[in-house]
C-alpha cells in the first residue's frame, strides 16, 4: 500500500481547512461548501482503498515521518499506524463526515460565517484522523486535544451568545481534566516501558506495579472525552453548537475517542483487571443515569445528548468486561443511528425556525415524510428491535454482561428499556398528534432540501442493515479485529444456546414495554410534558440531572474562585508587606536613631554612663 495514499487521507482535510481558512471569505458559499465536502469525500475514497487493502492482506502499515521528541532513554516519532482498528474508524469518520458536510452546506447556508464553519469542520476531521492513525500515545494526544479545540470552536460557533461561549468553555475545561489523566498515563507508560509506540508497547508491556495508575489515568481521560461519569456534564451543554456539529462531533466520532483509545491499549487494560471492573461499573452507572435524565428532557437535542451519554456508557461496560470488539461494534452502529437522529432533529429544527422544545412540536409526520421515515427507522434501531443494527450490537453487550455479572446485566437492561421509552416519547411528541407551535411556524413547515434528506436516507439505511457486520455466531467484525486485540480469549464469541435466545427475547420484550408505555402516554392520552417547575419526586431529581452541575459549582468552581480572590486580595498583600518591611526596618531604625541625636548634652552623658556601667558589669561578671 502506497504511503502517499494513506497520508493523503490526512492531507485532504488539512488542505480543505487551509483553503477555507485563508480564502474562504472570497469564495462563494457554494464553492466553499463544495471544497470542504469534497475534501472529506476524497479522504473517504482513500480510506476505502486502505480498507480494501487491509481486508485482503491484513498487514498494517506504519509510516514514520521524522523523530518528534527525544529523551535520554527513548524517543517519540511523528508517525502513523494504519491497522484494522484505524481502518474502521477512518471509514465511518470520513463516510459520515462527508454526509454531514453535505448536510451542512444546506443547514448552514444562511450563516454569515459559512466558510469559517467549514474551516473548523474540516480541521476537526483532520485531528480526528490523527487521533485514530497516530502511531504512538503522544501522536494520539495531538488528535485528542486537537478535536477538543475544534469542539470548543464549534460549540461556541455563535459567539455572540455568551451562554454558548460558556458551554464551549465548559467542554474544553472538563476535557482538560481528562487530558491531564492522559498525560499522566503517558508519563507512567513511558517511564515503565521506555516507549510510547503502540506496536512496541504491545510487544514489551508487562505487569508492573504502577501500571494500574497508568490505565486508570487513561480511563479518566476517556471519561472526559467520551462523556462518562463523573465528567460527562459538558456534553449536554455542548448542544449549543450547530446541529451538524452535534451529529458529527458529539455523537458519531469525537466522543468515541475514549473507546478507541482503550481498545487500542487493550493489552494494557487486560493486565489490570481492577481498573477494568471500575470501567464496567462506571459504564453501567452512566448508562442508567443518563437514560433516566433523558426521560424528562423536553429539548429534542438534549434527549439525544443524554441518549448518547447512555449509549457510550454501554460501550464502556463492554470495554470493562474485556469485550473490545463488542464495544467497537456498538460504536459503529451507534454512529449510524445517532447521526441519523441528530441530523433528523436538525431537519425538524430547521423546519420550525429554530424551535427545539418538543412541547411546541407535534404532528410533523404529515409535513416531513422523509425526515419522519428516517427518524422512525433510527428510533427502532436504537431501541433494539430486530433485525435493525442496534438490536445486534446492544444484545451483544447485554449477553456479555449476563455472562459476567448479573447486576451489570440488570442495570444495562434497564437502561435499554428506558432507551426505548424516551426515544419513542421523542418520536411521538415530535411527529404525532397535532402541531402545538404557533400558526406562523405551522405555515412554514416544510420538508428539508435534498442536500439534507439524502444524508438522512443513507444513514437510515446503514442504521437498518449495519448489524450485518457482526451477526451472532458468524461475526465478520470479530474476525477482522483479531490482530488488534491481544487477548482474544477474554471475549469469546457467544455460542447461541437456549439462554442466549431467551435473553434476546427478554430484551425485545423490554423494548416493547418501553414502546407501549410511550404509546399510551403520548398517543392514546395525548399527554404533553409539564413545565420543569411543576415536576416532583424522582422526576425532579432527573430533571435537575441529579444536581451534579450544582455540586460541581459549589465543590469546585466556587472554592477555586474563593481561593483566587483570597490569594489575590489577602495573601499577595501580606507577602508584599513582609518584603517591604525589610526595607522599612532600616529606614525606621535610622529615623528613630536620628531622634536620639538631638544635641541634648544631658542625654549623651546619660547614655555614656549607662554604657560604661554595662561594660564594667560585663567585664566583672563574665571573667
Amino acid at each position: 500500500m502506497s504511503t502517499t495514499i494513506l497520508l493523503l487521507t490526512l492531507i485532504f482535510p488539512l488542505v480543505g481547512t487551509l483553503i477555507n481558512g485563508f480564502w474562504g471569505k472570497h469564495l462563494s458559499k457554494k464553492v466553499s461548501g463544495t471544497i470542504a465536502t469534497m475534501a472529506i469525500a476524497a479522504s473517504f475514497v482513500t480510506s476505502c482503498l486502505f480498507f480494501a487493502y487491509i481486508q485482503g492482506s491484513q498487514e498494517p502499515v506504519k509510516i514514520v515521518l521524522f523523530e518528534w521528541m527525544k529523551f535520554n532513554y527513548f524517543s517519540i516519532d511523528f508517525g502513523f499506524y494504519f491497522d484494522q482498528l484505524a481502518a474502521l474508524w477512518l471509514l465511518f469518520i470520513t463516510g459520515i463526515g462527508t454526509l454531514i458536510h453535505l448536510y451542512s452546506t444546506s443547514y448552514m447556508s444562511h450563516d454569515e460565517n459559512f466558510s469559517k464553519f467549514f474551516t473548523y469542520l474540516n480541521f476537526f476531521v483532520f485531528f480526528m484522523l490523527i487521533l485514530v492513525t497516530g502511531s504512538n500515545l503522544a501522536m494520539m494526544f495531538i488528535g485528542w486535544e486537537g478535536v477538543g479545540l475544534c469542539s470548543y470552536l464549534l460549540i461556541g460557533f455563535w459567539y455572540k451568545n455568551q451562554d454558548y461561549n460558556n458551554a464551549a468553555k465548559k467542554a474544553f475545561i472538563m476535557n482538560r481534566i481528562g487530558d491531564l489523566g492522559f498525560l499522566v498515563g503517558i508519563f507512567v507508560t513511558g517511564y515503565l516501558f521506555h516507549t510510547l509506540d503502540f506496536i512496541e508497547l504491545k510487544e514489551q508491556s508487562f505487569l508492573a506495579p504502577t501500571l494500574g495508575i497508568a490505565t486508570m489515568a487513561f480511563f479518566i481521560a476517556a471519561t472526559g472525552k467520551s462523556a462518562q461519569l463523573p465528567l460527562y456534564t459538558w456534553l449536554p451543554d455542548a448542544m449549543a453548537g450547530p446541529t451538524p456539529v452535534s451529529a458529527l462531533i458529539h455523537a458519531a466520532t469525537m466522543v468515541t475517542a475514549g473507546i478507541f483509545m482503550i481498545t487500542r491499549l487493550n493489552f494494557l487494560f487486560d493486565l489490570t483487571p481492577d481498573v477494568q471492573h471500575i470501567i464496567a461499573i462506571i459504564g453501567a452507572a452512566t448508562a442508567l443515569m443518563a437514560a433516566t435524565i433523558a426521560l424528562v428532557q423536553n429539548d429534542i437535542k438534549k434527549v439525544l445528548a443524554y441518549s448518547t451519554v447512555s449509549q457510550l456508557g454501554l460501550m464502556f461496560l463492554a470495554l470493562g468486561l474485556g469485550a473490545y470488539e463488542v464495544a467497537v461494534f456498538h460504536v459503529i452502529t451507534h454512529a449510524f443511528f445517532k447521526a441519523c437522529l441528530f441530523l433528523g432533529s436538525g431537519s425538524v429544527i430547521h423546519a420550525i425556525g429554530g424551535e427545539q422544545d418538543m412541547r411546541h412540536m407535534g404532528g410533523l409526520k404529515k409535513h416531513m415524510k422523509i425526515t419522519y421515515a428516517t427518524f422512525f427507522i433510527a428510533t427502532i434501531a436504537i431501541s433494539g428491535f430486530p433485525p435493525l443494527s442496534g438490536f445486534f450490537s446492544k444484545d451483544e453487550i447485554l449477553l456479555t454482561a449476563f455472562h459476567h455479572n448479573i447486576v451489570l446485566w440488570v442495570v444495562a437492561s434497564l437502561a435499554s428499556i428506558l432507551t426505548a421509552f424516551y426515544m419513542f416519547r421523542l418520536l411521538f411528541l415530535t411527529f404525532s398528534n397535532k402541531f402545538r407551535g404557533t400558526e406562523e411556524q405551522e405555515h412554514h413547515l416544510h420538508e428539508s432540501p435534498s442536500a439534507m434528506t439524502m444524508p438522512l436516507i443513507i444513514l437510515a439505511v446503514l442504521a437498518a442493515v449495519g448489524g450485518l457486520i457482526s451477526i451472532p455466531g458468524n461475526s465478520w467484525l470479530n474476525e477482522f479485529l483479531k490482530p488488534v486485540i491481544k487477548n482474544n480469549a477474554a471475549s469469546h464469541p457467544h455460542v447461541l444456546g437456549t439462554t442466549e435466545y431467551m435473553l434476546m427475547g427478554l430484551a425485545v420484550v423490554g423494548a416493547l414495554v418501553g414502546l407501549m408505555v410511550a404509546y399510551f402516554k403520548y398517543i392514546k392520552n395525548k399527554q404533553v410534558p409539564v413545565n420543569d417547575n411543576n415536576v416532583s419526586g424522582l422526576q425532579k431529581l432527573f430533571a435537575n440531572k441529579y444536581y451534579l452541575d450544582d455540586i460541581y459549582q459549589s465543590l469546585i468552581v466556587h472554592p477555586l474562585n474563593f481561593f483566587g480572590s483570597f490569594f489575590k486580595n489577602q495573601i499577595d498583600g501580606l507577602i508584599n508587606g513582609i518584603v517591604l518591611s525589610f526595607g522599612r526596618v532600616p529606614s525606621e531604625l535610622s529615623y528613630q536613631g536620628k531622634k536620639a541625636q538631638n544635641g541634648n548634652i544631658g542625654l549623651y552623658l546619660f547614655a555614656f554612663v549607662i554604657g560604661v556601667c554595662g561594660l564594667l558589669y560585663y567585664l566583672f561578671m563574665c571573667y
Binding site: F66, E67, W68, M69, K70, F71, N72, F78, K116, A138, F141, I142, W144, E145, G146, L149, Y152, L153, G156, Y159, K160, Q162, N165, N166, A168, K169, F172, I173, R176, I177, D179, L180, L183, V184, I186, F187, V188, G190, Y191, T210, I213, L560, N561, F563, G564, S565, F567, K568, I571, D572, I575, N576, V579, L580, F582, G583
Partner: protein, 467 residues
C-alpha cells in the same frame, strides 16, 4: 565569526541610537537587532559545523578574572532567543510613539547587550556584572516611560530594583566564597568544585535568592505584577520574554552544576515552592480583571513550571526547561502584544470593558486563538513540547509533582478561555475595533509561525542541546 561581535554590535547600536534623532531611533535599533539576529544564526551554523566561536581574554590577574564568553548548546539557545525576540519586540513597539525615543531604544539595546553577556559569560564575576547591568536599563525604561502617576510608578520600580538587586548580592557572596575555595571564577573550575552538603546548602540558597526573585518563584514574586503593569509594553516584553529567563538559565548553568549536591530536603522544598506558585498564580490569574496583570500571573505560573523542571536536575528537566524558555518567550511577547493592540483601540486594560472584537476583527481573533492555545500548551504548538517535557521530568522525580503541576493545564485553560470570552467574544454596543495593520499582522504571523513550526518540528531547535 566570534560571539563577542554580538556584544559589540549591541553597544555600537546603542550609541548610534542615542545619537540619532527621535524619529530614526526605532529604525536604528531595529536594524541593529536584525543584524545581530542574522549573526546569531550564522554563529549557530558555525557552531553546528564544529567551529569554535568562543572568546577568552585575561582581564585582571589578581583576583583572577577573565573576559571569557563561551558558546555551547545552552548559551547559544539563549542567545538565539534574545537576538531573535528583540527585533520582534522592537517592531511591536512601533505601535507606540514614545517621547525621547532615542534614549528609550538606546536603553533597550543596552539591555540586550547585558542580557546577551549574561548568557555568554563563563567567568562568574563577569557574568555577575552583566547580570546586574541588565537591571539598570529596565529600571529606567519602567521609571521614565511607564504608566500611572510618577509617585506610584516610582515606588513600584524602586521596589523592583531594590528587591532584585538585594537578592543578587547573595549570589555575589556565593561567588566570593567559591573563589576562596578554588581561586577562580571560571565556570570550568567552579563546576568541578566539590562542596560538602552544608556548603552546598548555603551556596544553593544564596543562588536561589537571586534567581528565585528574578524568575520569580513563590513567594518571592510580589514585585512582578506591579512592575509588568506599570512598565511600558516594550519593557514588559523585555522583562517577561527574555530577562526572567536569565534566572532559569542561571539555575541550569550555575546553581545546579555548582551546588547540585544540596540536601534532598532543600531541593524538594524548592520544587514544591515552584509548584505551589503555579497553582497560586493560576488562581490569581483567574480572578484578575486587568489584562496585563492576568498575563503577569499567567507568566508566573508558566515559569514556575520551568523552574520546577530545572530544579529536578535530570536530563529531561534540563531540556524541558530550555525548550519552554524559548516557547514561553515567544508566547508571552505575543500575548502582551495582543494586549497592547487591544489597548491601542479600546484604551483600556480592564477586561470587563472589552468584548465584541471577534465580529469586527477576525484576523486578530485568529492570531489571538493561536497564541492563546500555544500558551495553554496545545499539541502542535511549541508550548506543548515544553510543558510535556517538563511535566514528564517532574513525573520521573515524583509522579505527584507532575499531577499537581499538571493542574496548570486545566487552570490555564480556565483563566485564558474566560479572559478570551470576555475580552474578544460577545457582542459590542458601539466600540470600534480596527482589524490588524500590516505591521501588526507581520509581527503576529512571525510569532505564530515560530510557535507552530517548532511545535511540529522541534528538532530544528532542540538539536542544539539534545545529543
Amino acid at each position: 565569526m566570534n560571539c563577542i561581535i554580538i556584544l559589540l554590535i549591541y553597544v555600537l547600536g546603542a550609541v548610534a541610537t542615542l545619537a540619532s534623532n527621535s524619529k530614526n531611533a526605532a529604525k536604528t535599533a531595529l536594524v541593529t537587532s536584525l543584524i545581530n539576529a542574522v549573526i546569531a544564526l550564522i554563529l549557530t551554523g558555525e557552531y553546528l559545523n564544529g567551529n569554535d566561536v568562543s572568546f577568552t581574554q585575561q582581564w585582571i590577574s589578581n583576583p583572577n578574572i577573565s573576559l571569557s564568553f563561551v558558546v555551547d548548546g545552552l548559551s547559544l539557545t539563549m542567545l538565539l532567543l534574545t537576538t531573535l525576540l528583540l527585533p520582534i519586540i522592537i517592531l511591536a513597539s512601533f505601535n507606540t510613539l514614545y517621547s525621547k525615543a532615542n534614549q528609550l531604544y538606546s536603553l533597550v539595546l543596552f539591555m540586550a547587550f547585558a542580557m546577551a553577556g549574561t548568557f555568554l559569560a563563563q567567568d562568574g564575576l563577569v557574568y555577575y556584572i552583566f547580570w546586574e547591568l541588565a537591571l539598570l536599563p529596565i529600571f529606567f525604561i519602567g521609571l521614565l516611560w511607564g504608566s500611572d502617576e510618577w509617585k506610584i510608578r516610582k515606588r513600584v520600580m524602586v521596589t523592583f530594583f531594590m528587591y532584585t538587586f538585594a537578592g543578587s548580592l547573595f549570589m555575589l557572596a556565593a561567588f566570593a566564597y567559591l573563589y576562596t575555595l578554588t581561586g577562580s571564577f571560571a565556570w570550568s573550575d567552579l563546576s568541578k568544585v566539590v562542596l560538602s552538603t552544608k556548603e552546598a546548602n548555603y551556596i544553593f540558597l544564596a543562588f536561589f535568592l537571586a534567581y528565585g526573585i528574578k524568575i520569580p518563584v513563590f513567594p518571592l514574586h510580589t514585585w512582578q505584577a506591579n512592575t509588568y503593569e506599570k512598565s511600558p509594553t516594550i519593557g514588559t516584553m523585555l522583562l517577561s520574554g527574555i530577562m526572567l529567563k536569565m534566572g532559569i538559565y542561571s539555575i541550569l548553568r550555575w546553581q545546579m552544576p555548582i551546588a547540585g549536591n544540596v540536601s534532598e530536603n532543600i531541593l524538594k522544598t524548592v520544587i514544591v515552592l515552584c509548584i505551589v506558585g503555579i497553582i497560586y498564580a493560576s488562581l490569581i490569574a483567574l480572578r484578575s480583571n486587568n489584562l496585563k496583570r492576568l498575563l503577569a500571573y499567567s507568566s508566573m505560573a508558566h515559569v514556575g513550571l520551568v523552574a520546577a523542571g530545572a530544579y529536578v536536575g535530570n536530563s529531561t528537566g534540563y531540556q524541558g526547561s530550555i525548550i519552554q524558555m524559548v516557547a514561553h518567550g515567544f508566547v508571552v511577547v505575543g500575548l502582551f502584544y495582543l494586549a497592547d493592540i487591544i489597548y491601542k483601540r479600546y484604551d483600556t486594560y480592564e477586561i470587563k470593558e472589552m468584548g465584541g472584537i471577534r465580529s469586527q476583527a477576525p484576523k486578530f481573533t485568529t492570531f489571538f486563538l493561536i497564541i492563546m492555545f500555544a500558551s495553554i500548551g496545545l499539541p502542535g504548538t511549541f508550548g506543548f513540547i515544553g510543558e510535556f517535557t517538563l511535566l514528564f521530568a517532574l513525573s520521573e522525580k515524583e509522579l505527584l509533582y507532575a499531577v499537581f503541576a499538571g493542574t496548570s493545564i486545566i487552570l490555564g485553560a480556565y483563566y485564558m478561555l474566560k479572559m478570551f470570552q470576555n475580552a474578544v467574544l460577545g457582542s459590542t454596543e458601539n466600540k470600534v475595533f480596527a482589524e490588524v495593520t500590516t505591521k501588526e499582522y507581520f509581527v503576529l504571523a512571525v510569532i505564530c509561525v515560530v510557535l507552530i513550526g517548532l511545535g511540529i518540528y522541534p528538532k530544528l531547535l532542540t538539536d542544539l542541546f539534545i545529543q
